[in-house]
């Protein structure tokens, strides 16, 4: 049985369709990433899957339990880490965990044991009696995570677990998530951080404006975008008109200037390498470095979501003639 099964799930807020008929399955023990720009519907999806908000139409099953009809059974199986670190500021770290344990109907001994272990894991044990009010952002985030794990959930929902954290906290959270995945906990995580999705997720869904644009393993997503392969070259001297000249090379779909480098997008990197060398000789230019690169998940993402933000604008325009 799948850990999460989502069938034509839709959520409307008045006229605004936040999530539009999405469907996917997450296997038990899988780490599933939900990647999308701001306002794509990631949080709304998590809120529906966890029963925090109603469903307009469609269904969601957690280990076969319908989140609407069999709410309590489904909720018992899951842990939730919300987008905002929603801890009770007035309560100590310890009391926050104890209260959460009670909400999940755990026994006294189990609560104490889990609370101690989690506070130690997240480096908060020494400050367990302090009110959370005085905690830094990273500490509150870690406490939120500990609270999400107090009932030893089989399915863990993480809404942007590491956004805005320093490298150390990020690392810690990533390690904990990977350990859980090894213990066969199913993890559903949303993120903007493409690299995070790339290294932690077995599969990624890319969601945009409430619909899923693609679902696959990160590497496979990259492969489907062969035309996003590129050759990156840097010459010993800059010269006006170089960008335009590079664009005319055969098999080159688009060229983008990135600092002192040029990136030539192509479906056929070896061919472009050849013509690039000939071009350099002809123009009397010396390439300092040449690298070929597969498509990055970021490029796949931008392609799928049709996004071209800020400095990426030029690339977006160049991309227009790409497919």
């Amino acid at each position: 049985m799948d850990a999460i099964e989502v069938i034509d799930l839709t959520k409307r807020f008045g006229d605004n369709i936040a999530v539009n008929g999405i469907r996917f399955r997450v296997r038990e023990g899988e780490t599933f990433g939900f990647l999308g720009p701001n306002g794509a519907g990631k949080t709304t999806t998590i809120r529906m899957l966890t029963g925090m908000t109603g469903i307009t139409s469609g269904r969601a099953l957690i280990h076969g339990h319908d989140i609407v009809r069999d709410t309590l059974a489904a909720k018992r199986l899951m842990g939730i880490v919300s987008e905002t670190s929603n801890v009770y500021d007035e309560l100590s770290a310890w009391d926050n965990l104890v209260f959460t344990g009670r909400l999940y109907h755990l026994g006294k001994a189990e609560i104490r044991r889990n609370a101690r272990d989690l506070l130690e894991t997240f480096g908060l044990y020494g400050r367990r009696h302090e009110p959370a009010e005085g905690f830094s952002k990273g500490m509150k985030r870690r406490l939120t995570l500990a609270m999400g794990l107090v009932n030893s959930p089989g399915v863990l929902f993480l809404d942007e677990p590491t956004s805005g954290l320093d490298v150390q906290s990020r690392r810690l959270i990533r390690d904990v998530v990977q350990d859980l995945a090894r213990e066969n906990v199913t993890i559903f995580l949303t993120t903007h951080d493409i690299e995070e999705a790339n290294v932690t997720c077995d599969r990624v869904a890319i969601i945009n404006q409430g619909t899923i644009a693609a679902i696959d393993a990160p590497e496979k997503l990259k492969q489907t975008f062969e035309s996003l392969q590129s050759v990156e070259v840097s010459f010993d001297s800059a010269r006006p008109g170089l960008l335009e000249a590079l664009r005319t090379l055969p098999q080159v779909n688009a060229v983008q200037k990135e600092g002192d480098k040029f990136r030539l997008y192509t479906a056929d990197p070896p061919e472009v390498l050849g013509s690039l060398c000939a071009f350099a000789k002809e123009q009397n230019l010396r390439p300092i470095s040449i690298t070929t690169r597969g498509p990055s998940l970021e490029e796949v993402f931008i392609r799928l979501t049709g996004l071209s933000v800020g400095t990426k604008k030029e690339a977006g325009e160049a991309d227009a003639g790409l497919v």
Partner: protein
């Protein structure tokens, strides 16, 4: 059936956990405790000044008002705040029924108001040298009135807003008129017929009647009827509360 029994015991456990959490965060605070104890004192002055009724006869009315206000004042503040800080989401996401959430929120207010009511009674007894005739009626009156009005406060907080003022003004729209139509300020006997009819709809009327009976034995409806109405009103508020909270999830 064990499944059914287990669900009830889980709900009660969770409700109690929520009540304890609320008491810890919102009630056991010096400022809240002091202002709650000061309230009946100020009310007493407002009542007593310029009247020549013996001070002791004011105690039951005073107690009824104190219970009404202390029971219904915190949840309408705490719930919008928890919506804003998103901690309310924790309750919605937990394997806890909406009934248990409403009961838990109401219980904390009820325990708090009962404690304030007992303190007010103790001070009143010493200050006015009055006595209690029916201690059981008094305890029942304190507990039921507290739970009834804390449930009313919780019910108003179902109005989905993160703004405390909105809930409070809605609540006061109901709470303040209750004072005048429940026989606390104006005896029922001296009200016009339409006033008496409305008074019959107010739980505060029965709360006041029950407390009055406990102190001096006079009663309009009898302690059993008073108790029954308070229990019914509480059950009704709990049920409507659960319905509204279920609806108020977007």
């Amino acid at each position: 059936m064990p499944g059914w029994f287990e669900q009830i015991s889980c709900d009660l456990g969770a409700a109690w956990a929520i009540a304890r959490k609320d008491m810890k965060i919102y009630y056991i605070k010096p400022s809240i405790l002091v202002s709650s104890l000061l309230f009946p004192f100020v009310m007493f002055l407002a009542f007593a000044i310029g009247r020549n009724a013996p001070a002791g006869t004011l105690l039951p009315g005073l107690l009824a008002i104190t219970l009404l206000f202390s029971a219904s004042s915190i949840e309408p503040v705490s719930i919008p705040i928890e919506r804003r800080t998103k901690t309310f989401d924790r309750l919605l996401a937990a394997p806890v029924s909406v009934r248990a959430i409403v009961l838990g929120a109401s219980l904390s207010g009820a325990v708090f108001a009962s404690a304030i009511g007992i303190a007010t009674t103790a001070i009143g007894l010493v200050a006015f040298r009055t006595g209690i005739i029916h201690i059981v009626a008094l305890l029942a009156g304190l507990a039921l009135t507290s739970l009834c009005f804390s449930t009313m406060g919780t019910l108003f907080a179902a109005y989905r807003t993160e703004n405390v003022g909105e809930v409070m003004s809605l609540l006061n729209l109901v709470r303040l008129p209750l004072l005048f139509i429940s026989g606390v300020f104006i005896p029922l006997a001296s009200m016009p017929a339409w006033g008496q009819t409305i008074a019959l709809l107010s739980p505060l009327t029965y709360a006041h009647d029950l407390i009055l009976f406990a102190f001096d034995g006079t009663t309009l409806f009898g302690p059993v009827a008073d108790t029954a109405v308070l229990v019914l009103a509480t059950v009704l508020f709990q049920a409507v509360g659960a319905l509204l909270y279920r609806r108020s999830r977007e």
